[in-house]
Amino acid sequence: MTDMVIPWVLAGIPFAGALVCLAFGSDPYRVKLCAIGSSVISLAATAVVANRLPIPPDGLLPLYLLPIAAVVATLGQPVHEHHRLAWTLTLIFLGLGMAVLTGGNTFGPLSLIMIMLMIMFLLYRHHTTLWPISWWGIGSFGVGVVGAGLSLVAGPPVSSVASLATCAVLLPLMPLHDGYLTALTRLPGSLPPFIVVLLPVLGLHGLATAMPTMPSEFVAVVSLLALASSLYGAIKALAQSRVRLLVGYGSVSFFSILWWFVAGAHTATPRAAVLAGAVGLATGGLLVAWQVIRTRYGDDVDPQAVSGLAAVMPKYAVLFSLLGLAAMGIPPFGVFAGFMGLLLTAPPSSTIGLFIALTAWLAASWYIMQMVQQLLFGTRRPDLRYADLRHPEFTSLLIVVLALLALGLAPISLYSSNQDPKMTATTEQSLAWNR
């Protein structure tokens, strides 16, 4: 009986926090404090009850990552009355996200539909001249909603395919990646850094259930699509000059690599969750870091116009470069650990596939390094006023860096009781190479 209440408690804490936020509506400082407090309580509650929850195939890591991402996203925003709605919505999305992960077969999909409908509504309402309304993005989420609805009412194989379409919207896969990109660029305030963790994690959770039931022919198509998507993401990221799009396409590339691994293994393991969570967190961290620049120089600041921050904003420079390293998949951070973990444990697959995945991984060194170099190094501009990180911004970025470090160094057994394939299994697999 108690175990049945746990999902409600986990989903309820953020909702209760959102209600308190509404009560403090006039004071942005208190709203922010309340949003952070609720997220921290949510994280603590997860840690307390985690061992009583059934362990899904992708492990329990997503349950910990969501509150952390909420704290990071909220902390990274300066106190301003315009951000009150975003902070409250972050809590609501957190509650719904926890409900999807713990809510089972009925409550979970309904919460997922709710999340996508809310994002569609927000995308419809929130657009600027810089980021105009994107019907492609809203349409993608529409496909996701229809897919989630069909997976509830239809039988297999329609439900599996519909579920896969929803997953492709959440864990972005070409050609349904526009929803993710639009959410990342258009949503207000603290929502983008949180959404880039929430959507992929939920997508992977759905994939863990849907993938094992997929017919092999369909999985082969998904594999091909994933490889094309990873290259597409990398090429698009290389061509971007706007930071949010660069970061967004870069993450699409990494998530597509994840799709390739999941399709190859026919299942999503806790290692896949490490990669999804780490890429999401690194992307969220970079968005928070870019938010710091936007706060100082305006929303429409051209990244080419800012340079030489390393000399005058040392704290920012150190954390931003560490985030850049993490995002491009350099050890000892989580992105590398997740990527490497999947590479080592994945069954031997096509050489061309491995080559494309490695090329996409390598391309990140160009576009992310270029962005980091552009902002941090070069000549300092005398006409710009430089101000290093404030305490909340510093804490927010530090949490991301530490979380990514923990994801890279912690043993996988922390997130799941599933044992790794031992050497015997690998040796058996390696026999496939014998001739």
């Binding site: 492609w136 090429i235 350099i330 050489t351 300092r380 890279g408 160094l409 001739r435």
Partner: protein, 568 residues
């Protein structure tokens, strides 16, 4: 005790970085000086490790369960054998000199604190890399090193420095990706990344893999070729050498460390995985070709440069090519000996290089040499001594190795090729000496002869002792030479070409010195000038890199524009 010592050495270097970095601006210089003590202690610790490892078996420290290496993605562990201990001593020894030098050299630099901390951190990473317990940990520190090289460029306000640093990082990442692919393939094939176990499994289960339909290679070849590309990147082998000249804007002590420590990573990797490389003749042959090409191109480009740092940089590229060539011939221990000797020599030269540049800026005539003031004329005695020396010494070496050291020389092609390579290079050195100083004196001739004999015999003795120290099992050494055996026709061709080049060089010198006209076809004369221009411009490799970069960027932007039409 040995376990503690192995752990203390890197920790001391890390603490040195902490001492430099943490604290106020007022105590900056005091802390910089204080940090030299842990670096010095690390050197003493490394000597201790070397002494203990020499008398005991290799030491293994693991902070993970080797039965399930993937439970920790980054398994932290140490494996220190004689090779690691030698490398640790070399790195810490060079580091203490460079660190002490840097504290004064960078005294007035605004970012000296960051710079000194990075030097200590690089030493820490290098020590962890050479004492890694498994391939994954080695790769971890290998990659961190790529990024540290980017940061060590130091002056990130200077556009050329920034471009060079970016090129360094991206080119090294290309090589790192091949290294990563090698690790993945090795794990998928053999199920382990532990060094000894990996060698044992690779030897026990010869596997063939199909890369493309109809294209089969042995697993050892596939794995070692990928790992070799990784080594090519760090050791600046052609065509991945471009990053080294681009990184020359960094402060000179950085180059001392780079050329004495970091760049040796490729040679170290091949030696660490020697049993695996010894299983693939194909990879060793590829290494021989790449190494020879790099040695020849590096040395030729060095001769055409007019900038002291670039000259030294290309000299290093040539030497690294030589080292990789030695590996390709199966002379793994010789490659380590070479990298130690070269590291110590190049660190000294680079540390002095800053002063030379400084002096040249203050004294416009320095280091200009008035060629008219050179001693003119031809000394028959000096010429004969050089000629006899370069023909006589190789013969003597052959006799001594056969008769005294009892080395079956002709059974290992690698040794013969190396000897012939030494023959060419020593001839070239003597030719240069004679051209510059034509002194007709018995004393000079005798000194020249004795010095050469002394150097050759000491070198031979040192190499032989070092080989016995590093690879105590002679059968293992012989097996590497056997694996590297070239086809007979190629071996004969190399030997004949080397002999012809040396003899022709002497004949050319003799005729020129006697004022005789050496008939050279006009097209060769023209080609020589054109080639000089090509090598002066570093075979236009930078321009080619630039062209490829801009063409790729154009293509990417075109694709991006096309795609915008139907999406977003």
């Amino acid at each position: 005790m040995l376990v503690s010592l192995v752990l203390i050495v890197p920790l001391l270097l890390l603490s040195a970085a902490g001492i430099v970095m943490i604290g106020g601006e007022t105590s900056r210089f005091t802390r910089a000086k204080a940090a030299a003590y842990p670096v010095g202690l690390a050197f003493l610790g490394a000597i201790g490790v070397l002494t203990l490892v020499s008398s005991q078996s290799p030491i293994t420290i693991r902070f993970y369960d080797p039965a399930s290496v993937t439970s920790f993605i980054i398994p932290i562990g140490f494996y220190v054998d004689r090779l690691s201990a030698v490398m640790m001593t070399l790195i810490t020894g060079v580091s203490i000199i460079i660190y002490c030098y840097s504290t004064r050299y960078m005294y007035q630099d605004g970012h000296a604190r960051r710079y000194l901390a990075l030097i200590c951190l690089t030493d820490f990473v290098l020590i962890c890399m050479v004492s890694s317990g498994n391939l994954m940990m080695l790769f971890l520190f290998w990659q961190i090193l790529s990024y540290l090289l980017y940061l060590l460029a130091h002056n990130h306000v200077h556009p050329a420095t920034l471009t060079g640093a970016f090129k360094t990082f991206t080119l090294l990442r290309v090589a790192d990706t091949a290294f990563l692919a090698g690790i993945v393939l090795a794990y998928q094939l053999y199920g382990t990344l532990e060094f000894q176990e990996l060698f044992a499994r690779a030897a026990a289960t010869p596997v063939t893999i199909s890369i493309l339909p109809g294209m089969d290679v042995s697993a050892a070849t596939a794995v070692t070729l990928l790992l070799f590309v990784g080594a090519m990147g760090k050791s600046a082998q052609f065509p991945l050498h471009l990053w080294l000249p681009g990184s020359l804007f960094a402060p000179t002590p950085v180059h001392a460390l780079l050329h004495a420590g970091i760049i040796n990573a490729g040679g170290f990797l091949i030696n660490r995985l020697a049993p695996l490389f010894g299983m693939s003749s194909t990879t060793l042959h590829v290494a021989f070709v790449i190494g020879t090409l790099t040695a020849v191109l590096g040395a030729t480009m060095m001769l055409a440069q007019n900038d002291i740092k670039k000259t030294l940089g290309f000299s290093t590229i040539g030497q690294m090519g030589y080292m990789i060539m030695e590996c390709g011939l199966g002379a793994f221990s010789l490659a380590v000996f070479h990298l130690i000797a070269h590291g110590l020599f190049k660190a000294t030269v680079f540390l002095n290089c800053g002063n030379i540049i400084h002096k040249a800026r203050q004294e416009p005539h320095f280091p200009h040499v008035d060629h008219a003031a050179e001693e003119a004329g031809f000394s028959r005695l000096a010429w004969s001594t050089g000629f006899v020396t370069t023909l006589f010494i190789p013969l003597l070496i052959l006799l001594v190795t056969h008769g005294v050291l009892r080395i079956p020389l002709l059974e290992s092609q690698g040794t013969v090729i190396i000897l012939f390579f030494i023959w060419i290079t020593s001839s070239q050195a003597i030719l240069t000496l004679i051209r510059l100083r034509a002194v007709a004196s018995w004393k000079v001739s005798a000194i020249m002869l004795l010095t050469l004999l002394f150097i050759v015999f000491v070198y031979l003795f040192a190499v032989e002792s070092f080989t016995a120290f590093l690879y105590p099992n002679p059968e293992e050494v012989a097996s590497y030479f056997r694996a590297a055996d070239l086809p007979d026709w190629l071996f004969d061709l190399i030997v004949v070409m080397a002999a012809l080049m040396t003899v022709m060089g002497w004949i050319y010198l003799y005729m020129r010195a006697h004022g005789r006209t050496v008939w050279i076809p006009a097209w060769i004369e023209g080609l020589r000038i054109r080639l000089f221009m090509v090598f002066l411009n570093r075979i236009y490799a930078d321009e080619l890199y630039q062209l490829i970069s801009s063409m790729t960027a154009q293509l990417i932007h075109r694709l991006d524009k096309l795609e915008r039409g139907w999406s977003r």
